[in-house]
Symmetry: C2
Amino acid sequence: MNLKKSPEEGKMLLGMVLFNGFQLLDVFGPLDVFGFLSDRVEIVLIGENGIEAKSSAGPVVKLNCSFSKIPDLDILMIPGGAGSRREVSNITFLKMVRSAAEATPHVASICTGAAILAKTGILDGKRATTNKRAYQWATSQSNQVHWIFEARWVEDGKFFTSSGVSAGIDMAYALVSKIFGNDLAVSIALRAEYIWKNEPNIDPFAKEMI
Amino acid sequence: MNLKKSPEEGKMLLGMVLFNGFQLLDVFGPLDVFGFLSDRVEIVLIGENGIEAKSSAGPVVKLNCSFSKIPDLDILMIPGGAGSRREVSNITFLKMVRSAAEATPHVASICTGAAILAKTGILDGKRATTNKRAYQWATSQSNQVHWIFEARWVEDGKFFTSSGVSAGIDMAYALVSKIFGNDLAVSIALRAEYIWKNEPNIDPFAKEMI
């Protein structure tokens, strides 16, 4: 199955990788932003069993495909959440994430999703950031990453990594801006009545933790 | 079935009412805030068929109960989204929302969820707000509501109504502050790395639309 289509030919495919214990806003903050682009972007939810995944807060979402049936993606996203602490030891999961991240033109993590990406080794030599409250644990997943403590999000080549939970929304707008242009990102933020913090280096929560 | 427990005895029960075409962030923004209180608040997703509901962006979530089996709630939330335009004509849905809203101590709407609440008549005589882009349509659901255009959210007695999409998160923190105290709301925002816009009367998007 190859669902990949260029933006010119049709819709881009955004795959969000889920696992039990994912953080709701890590997933649905960014997906709500891309949801305003349903004429251009199709969303698929990917998880190990291909059936469903339970968030740390309780709600359960249905998955569109399992690890064995991932279509070619244009955008790959990895959320964080309490379950990420288990998934950094899940070899099957890490192999799938690594393989999908290698093949996908845009790769983004939210919160401790960066710990998962880092553990695959694919961020080695790259600049990246992650959640401030779980910083020590998340950054310990690879000492080959140039971790940046004070950042709302970090862009390095095709990789976008964002700070804790809510920062993923700001990063998602930056990714929309990169792919589709800043005017569209600004217009979506207006429709969503969202105050976009669009300076990646301004991070009030880094200062809170010092 | 009576799952209602006072906060002193156990967990409060938060019911989010879903329908096909709900807006992802309307639902999962506020639920992520309350998800940090999983030791105090249990979340149930309620919908007409009791099985699942599909968001306007695509992702499908599983429901915990149908309209015929709603437990006693402490907090009721009504999201908006494209589907709300259909649901204001769904008599079964409106009766359920009205009945649950009458019985629940804290009632909140996000975005065009206020149109649904207004259509039930339960907001008549109350102050309320809603989405700026759908303002004319939403406010036309009842001319007995004191609609307030410029507000991030409005609190009137047990009713909280918020502006478009993202405003629901700010309102959710205000509801946490009312129920559990401001210190807890502030500490959750810090953990979520969320910049809480905690002034209900400051609404940059009202100015954008003038």
